[in-house]
Symmetry: C2
Subunit: 438 residues, 2 copies
C-alpha cells in the first residue's frame, strides 16, 4: 500500500496500563506477531511503556525493554506514547482517570473496560471528539467476537432492529453444566470456580451485571443512542434450578442468559438482561459452555449470528490488538457509530409491553383442583396456554407444573404469575422465563 | 467526529455498474438510508451515475437523477466519480475491463465479483496499490456475512490456521431439503429452481465452482498468499443421494458442502471444496436452508463462527454499502490483508495427505463374505473402522453398507475405496466423504 494514504510509517507507540491476564496477552501477541502485524498495519506497533500494580511481580512475559510507570495516569502524559491501552477495569477510579487523561492529551485509547464504556461511554466519546482522537473498545464486549466492528462497520448500511445474545461465558458454562449433569446452581458454580471459569466473587457474572454492561454498549452502537444503564432491567441465573433445565429440554429448549436490545417498529427501544428459553435446534441453542454468541437483525442484511470465545487472555487481547491495527492504518470511526451530536436520546419501551411466549414453572401441592385454579387465573389475564407438563403423583406434597403460553404481554404474564404465586396450593417462588424466538 | 481526520466532508460520488438484483439493492439502501449513512460515514454517499444493459427496462427503483452510461467502462473515466461499484459479474470481459480502468484512473472499486477476485485478485491488488486506491470486495464472499472485514481486521492480530464453511446457499438449501424430505438430488434441485433458490443453469453452484471462488479469496486473505484457483480441487453435490443424508443422520451428522482453507503446523496450505459430514449438534450443523456459515481458527482468538444470509439483494447490497462507508471514512487496508510485496507464494499440501475420519457408503450384493472382503482391503490400507451400518436383507440384490473410519490419510482412504469399488460384489460408485471436525 503506498504511503500517501497511511497516516505514518513510523511505529505506533503503545503504553499498556494493566498487566493482568488481558494485558499480558496483548504483550504476548505484539511480541510474537510483530512482523506479521507490521505487514498488516503497514507500520510497526511497538510497546514503549507499561504500568502495573507491582513491578517486581514474577511474570511469564519479558517487560524489561519497556518504560515502567507505577502510576498509569502519569503514562498518559508521556509524549512518546500514541495510544494508551486500558486493561485495568472498573467503571471509575484510576481506569476512568487514565482514559480521560489520555484522550485529553490527544492520545488514542483502546480499552477492554465494559463497565467504563457502559457508564461513561457517552462523555468519553465527546472527549475523544473534542481532542480529535479515537476511543476503541472492541475488547469490552464478547471477547474475541468482533461484534463492535461488525455492528459499526459491517452492518453500517442497515437500520439495526435487534442485537442480543449470550454475552457471559461463566453463566453459559454454568447453565450448560446444570443441563448436562442435572446438578443445581450452587454445586455447578463451585465447580466453575474451581476450574477458573467463575471468579471467587461471581456476583457481576451470575447476577447479570456484566451482561448488562455489554448489551448497554451494543444497544448504544446499534441504535445510535446514549448508553444508559439506568433503563436496563437485569435478572441473573441464581434462582434457576436443575428442574428448570430439564423442563425446558422436554419442551425443546435450552436456558440461556441473554442480553437483549430491540427496537420496535415505532422506534421505541427495550434493553434488558434475563434468562430465556431458546430452541435446542437453533444455532444459538447449539452454543454451549464458555462460548458467547451474538445475534443481530438488520433491515437489509437480515439476521446474523457470531459465535466465539467471550473471555480469556487470547481472545480479549486479540480484540485489543485489532483496534490497534485499525488505528495504525489511520482508521477512525465515530465511537458509537455516529458522532455524539447525532446520537439520540432513546425512546424506551416498558419491558412489560414486550410480547412473547412464556415458560412458567410452578411447584404445587398435588391435590384436585389446583390446575383449574391456575388455568382460571391465566384465562382472566387473557393468557392462553400452549403446553402443560405435569409429572408424577405425590399426594399432598409438591409436584411440578410447567406451562408454555401462547403469545402474551409480559405485564399480563407477570400479573398472572404474581396472582398464582399467592394461591395456597402453590409452594415456593414460580419461575417465569420468556421464550426468545428469532 | 472532527473533520481533520476525515478525508473529506464532500459527498463520496458513486457510479454503479450493473443494475441487476445486487445493483438494485445498493440503489435502494443508499436511497432509503441516505441520512443514516451520512451520519455513519461522516459525509454523504451519493450515487451520481449508473450503467446497465437496458436504459428503458422497467425497474422498481428510480434512476432518473443519475447520469446513464451504456458503456460501464466509459463511466470509469468520468472525473466526477470517486468509486466504481462493479456488480456485473464474470471473471473477465467487461467487469474486468471496468475494474482495471477504474483503478488505473485512481478510482476506488467495490465489487461483488468473486470470480474476478479469485482469478485476477492479485493483479488487481497490484494495480490498486500502483494507483494508490482501494479495491474492496466484502460482497464477493458469503453475502451479508462480513467475513472479509472480520478476517482482515477483526482477527488481524492472529496467525490464522483455518477458514472454512458453508459458502453456497443453493447447495445448503438442496442438502437441507434432501435430508428433511428424503427426496433425491434432481427432484430437490427442480424445486429449488422453481423457488428461485437455484439458477436455471445451476452448474456454478452445484459443481462447487462458486464455493471454490469464495474459499480461494478467503484463503488468500487468511494466509497472505496469492489467490490461486489452479491448486484448489473441487467436488460438488450432484452425486449425493437421499440415502447418504439418512446414513449421515443415523451416525449423528449432516452433509454440508464446505469450502476449506487450512494451514498445517509446517506452514503448508490445503484449499479445497467438497461435501463433508459435520456433527448434527455442532453450531455449523445447525446451519440449514439458504444460510451460509464461516468458521475461523486463529492462534489467539480461537475459533469463531459467523452465520448469515450468503446471497440475495439485501445482504449482498449491504456488504457493498459497508465497503463504501469504510472508504468514505478514509479507511483503506491492503487488499489481501498485507500489501502485494508481502504476499507469499503458498506452499501447498497434497490433499491426499489430509488426515481425518471418513464416511464411506457402498452398495453391495447381499451375499456372504462381502463385508469380509471390504474389511480386508481397509486393513491392507491401514484403515481401521469405527462404525458400520448394514441394513436390511435382500438376498442377491444390492444393500447399503456404510462405514465410518478412525483417523486415516485421505490418500489411503481413496486407494482403499478405489480397490473396493472394483470388487465384483460392489455395485455402483462408492460415496466417500470426509468428516469435518472442529
Amino acid at each position: 500500500m503506498p504511503s500517501s494514504r497511511i497516516v505514518s510509517q513510523k511505529p505506533l507507540r503503545i503504553g499498556i496500563a494493566g498487566l493482568g491476564t488481558v494485558g499480558g496477552g496483548i504483550v504476548r501477541i505484539l511480541q510474537k506477531h510483530g512482523a506479521l502485524i507490521a505487514d498488516r498495519a503497514c507500520r510497526p506497533i511497538k510497546i514503549v511503556a507499561v504500568s502495573g500494580r507491582s513491578r517486581t511481580k514474577k511474570r511469564s512475559i519479558n517487560l524489561t525493554k519497556y518504560k515502567w510507570f507505577n502510576d498509569p495516569v502519569a503514562m498518559a502524559h508521556d509524549p512518546d506514547i500514541d495510544v494508551i491501552v486500558e486493561v485495568i477495569g472498573g467503571a471509575g477510579g484510576v481506569a476512568k482517570k487514565l482514559v480521560e487523561t489520555a484522550l485529553a492529551n490527544g492520545k488514542a485509547v483502546a480499552t477492554a473496560n465494559k463497565a467504563l464504556m457502559a457508564h461513561h461511554g457517552y462523555e468519553l466519546a465527546k472527549l475523544a471528539e473534542k481532542h480529535d482522537t479515537a476511543l476503541m473498545y472492541e475488547a469490552s464486549v464478547a471477547g474475541g467476537i468482533p461484534i463492535i466492528k461488525v455492528l459499526r462497520e459491517g452492518f453500517a448500511g442497515n437500520d439495526i432492529q435487534a442485537v442480543f445474545g449470550i454475552l457471559n461465558g461463566t453463566c453459559n458454562y454454568i447453565l450448560t453444566e446444570m443441563r448436562s449433569s442435572g446438578r443445581d446452581f450452587k454445586d455447578v458454580l463451585k465447580e466453575a470456580q474451581a476450574k477458573g471459569y467463575a471468579e471467587a466473587n461471581p456476583a457481576m457474572d451470575i447476577e447479570g451485571t456484566d451482561t448488562a454492561h455489554k448489551i448497554c454498549i451494543l444497544g448504544a452502537l446499534a441504535f445510535g443512542v446514549k448508553p444508559d444503564m439506568a433503563h436496563l432491567p437485569v435478572s441473573g441465573i441464581g434462582h434457576l434450578t436443575a428442574a428448570d433445565m430439564t423442563h425446558a429440554e422436554e419442551l425443546g429448549f435450552k436456558v440461556k442468559l441473554l442480553g437483549i436490545a430491540r427496537r420496535g417498529n415505532d422506534g421505541r427501544i427495550v434493553q434488558m438482561v434475563e434468562p430465556c428459553l431458546v430452541a435446542t435446534g437453533s444455532t444459538i441453542g447449539a452454543v454451549d459452555g464458555v462460548y458467547n454468541a451474538v445475534l443481530t437483525e438488520g433491515d437489509f442484511v437480515g439476521d446474523n449470528l457470531l459465535v466465539g470465545r467471550g473471555a480469556g487472555e487470547g481472545p480479549t487481547a486479540s480484540a485489543v490488538v485489532a483496534d490497534l491495527i485499525d488505528y495504525a492504518l489511520g482508521f477512525k470511526t465515530p465511537v458509537f457509530g455516529v458522532t455524539t451530536p447525532n446520537m439520540k436520546k432513546a425512546k424506551r419501551m416498558d419491558p412489560g409491553e414486550m410480547v412473547g411466549h412464556f415458560y412458567l414453572h410452578l411447584s404445587v401441592k398435588d391435590k384436585p383442583g389446583v390446575l383449574a385454579e391456575i388455568a382460571a387465573i391465566m384465562r382472566d389475564h387473557k393468557i392462553s396456554i400452549e403446553a402443560v407438563l405435569q409429572r408424577g403423583h405425590n399426594p399432598g406434597k409438591p409436584v411440578s407444573i410447567v406451562m408454555m403460553s401462547h403469545k402474551a404481554r409480559r405485564a399480563d404474564m407477570e400479573a398472572a404469575t404474581a396472582e398464582i404465586s399467592n394461591l395456597a396450593s402453590v409452594a415456593g417462588k414460580p419461575c417465569l422465563m420468556r421464550i426468545e424466538s428469532f
